[in-house]
Symmetry: none
Subunit: 209 residues, 4 copies
Amino acid sequence: MQKVQMHTPLREKQRQEREALILETAERVFLEKGYHETSIDEIATRVGVAKGTIYLHFASKEDLVKAIVQRSMVAFVRDVKDAVASKLTPGEKIETLLLRIYTRFFREEIRLLYSLYSNPEMKRLAEEEHGHSAKPFINELIELVTEIIEAGKAAKEFDSSLPTPVMVSIFFCLISPRTGERLFNEYGFTPAELASHLARIYFRGISAH
Amino acid sequence: MQKVQMHTPLREKQRQEREALILETAERVFLEKGYHETSIDEIATRVGVAKGTIYLHFASKEDLVKAIVQRSMVAFVRDVKDAVASKLTPGEKIETLLLRIYTRFFREEIRLLYSLYSNPEMKRLAEEEHGHSAKPFINELIELVTEIIEAGKAAKEFDSSLPTPVMVSIFFCLISPRTGERLFNEYGFTPAELASHLARIYFRGISAH
Amino acid sequence: MQKVQMHTPLREKQRQEREALILETAERVFLEKGYHETSIDEIATRVGVAKGTIYLHFASKEDLVKAIVQRSMVAFVRDVKDAVASKLTPGEKIETLLLRIYTRFFREEIRLLYSLYSNPEMKRLAEEEHGHSAKPFINELIELVTEIIEAGKAAKEFDSSLPTPVMVSIFFCLISPRTGERLFNEYGFTPAELASHLARIYFRGISAH
Amino acid sequence: MQKVQMHTPLREKQRQEREALILETAERVFLEKGYHETSIDEIATRVGVAKGTIYLHFASKEDLVKAIVQRSMVAFVRDVKDAVASKLTPGEKIETLLLRIYTRFFREEIRLLYSLYSNPEMKRLAEEEHGHSAKPFINELIELVTEIIEAGKAAKEFDSSLPTPVMVSIFFCLISPRTGERLFNEYGFTPAELASHLARIYFRGISAH
DNA sequence: GATGAATGAGTGTTCATTCAT
DNA sequence: GATGAATGAACACTCATTCAT
């Protein structure tokens, strides 16, 4: 009994470590080369396992990319939900979110999300229900940010004459990896600096005064 | 011989018309399905020619997509150059550009540009020299917008305390198709309305007072 | 116009010849090695074309085997229908059928039919509708032979005390390739001799007196 | 050491029971799905052991199927030998055999034998030496039945003008599972009824009367 | 002995590209 | 020039077999 109990968790731990390694590696390769240019063989080689091993963890190439994307989506939505649930003012919520996203950005999760979203084939992943939520990821995200904006308008913090959807869209464009990438790599901005500049430009534009 | 000489300009005209038709069709299909999901066969069928005919005009599938992208890039850069060369104030230049881009947006050129730009394989197309210009498309674009921003700062129209690269980046994020698409399709904004809202938010944020 | 009209039928003829060659070759290889042991590559190599060419004619490996089987089934049913429609006595119909089948047997069509029928996966092919007929092949065949047997019973030619299904089943077992193969190869019987012996044994058993 | 000696016979018994269970299960699965459609994994799961355990008993998938087939072949040959050795008349021997086979038929052993025999790859199993016998299974079987037929001819019970090989072949076709399956399943014949009908048709045809 | 995770050869299928007609 | 049949490299996926635990 002891042996069994000692063995199984060990195996299970190894299994999870390997799965995490596959996810990480695959995420990196997908990001470098794109979905179609990446072969299962390459992922396997980089992980240091045989092709078949990948299929012990994920039923198909699409399933693998789905798992990666879902993981990012869940983390993303969680961050936004946390911000919404916090006791900050709407403006502070936006700023906090920008900071958190620009920090997370370095973990490359959002980059893949955006990268794949541009691929029409992958786009529907974001438009299907995800995880435990019944709503498509993208809708859930929009609703959460809309909530913040509306609260800001109600609190006279944001300009009520501006259409909420436009304000929401601009928020999403601010966090697009494309926006940040150049600024990080070429100009050496830190996430904090960047989040601060973006928030400032965003707010001055939407503030009521 | 005479016949040949008479035919040649006609033939040449037909050739160019066909090439234009291929470019248009391919652009549409690439946009609908993405680069990899699009087969040469489908483009040929939609154009109404045989697969081989495509190869009489473009050496490879990649060459075809390059030609499309270059065409869009040249048109894009031309628009921006026109704006820069105009006698408008920096703020008016930005607003004019936004309007022109959001109008053009319906012609879907920019969408493909962005869509492909997300594909790592395609990204380098935007980072290579393009057309007759020695500069990579993306750099040329950035320089032009930078020029407008700097002029605006010099004219005390824009806030000099904000870093120019950040301001430039936000301008590019404003014209991302992702920003506009939802607003057009779901909320029915017109290009003019949208350009106006975006410009307003952008300016109030970056204006000096 | 002339050129087009001359070309197309030529192409079409070549296409059909090649398709026939693929069918023939595939039939032979499937028969030699069985369905699973046969790779598309081997068929292509034996035909002398590239693997892709096979797929210009048949959408999948299963489609290829279906086409072969259907061809045989249609020919088989036709033979039986011809016999049923003829003006012979029921006994003569059975004998004619045996002869025709044992002649055709050398063309190996029936062998593949039986060989695949033993494969549970393939069996359902024989139990689905085939060609233009709404009935599964196997049912159609059984009905036709049942018709002959019943007619023979009605004409007092066959023993009415024997159950028709048993009589039908034995007819089918008489034409199983397994029955004939050894007799041909090892004992050198001709199809005519064999058909005659089988008919004789079959009749003396089922005749009324 | 003692413990080992006490355990060994027990272990050995368990080993044999498990092996028998694997054989039975594998036989059933092979029959349901065919050789190639059956994976070692499925057999292991159905037996309730791990995949590796199968390989402790059989060196390969082919070895496993060989063992099954050999077991059936040995049992089959034994039945026929018993009949030959009995004191019955040749006619009674045939009838007894038919009955015994049609009873055994329900145990599905023969069905697999026939099913696999249609697979060219498996066919050679029946044509190699089997078990302790130096003769290929199929030859041994043919010789035994030939012996009965010849004895029947010598005893003036069977028609000497018919070629013995043809008579033997028809006997084998009578016991083909294909013959019986439909009659069992769709018409509800019992093994005894069926054996009786078949024997009657067979005899009236070959008897000298 | 028993396990089942890991392996990697093998195969069906697709599709950009070529070239004979 | 235009065609579209032919090609074959490339790749996702399976599964019999092995072996560390």
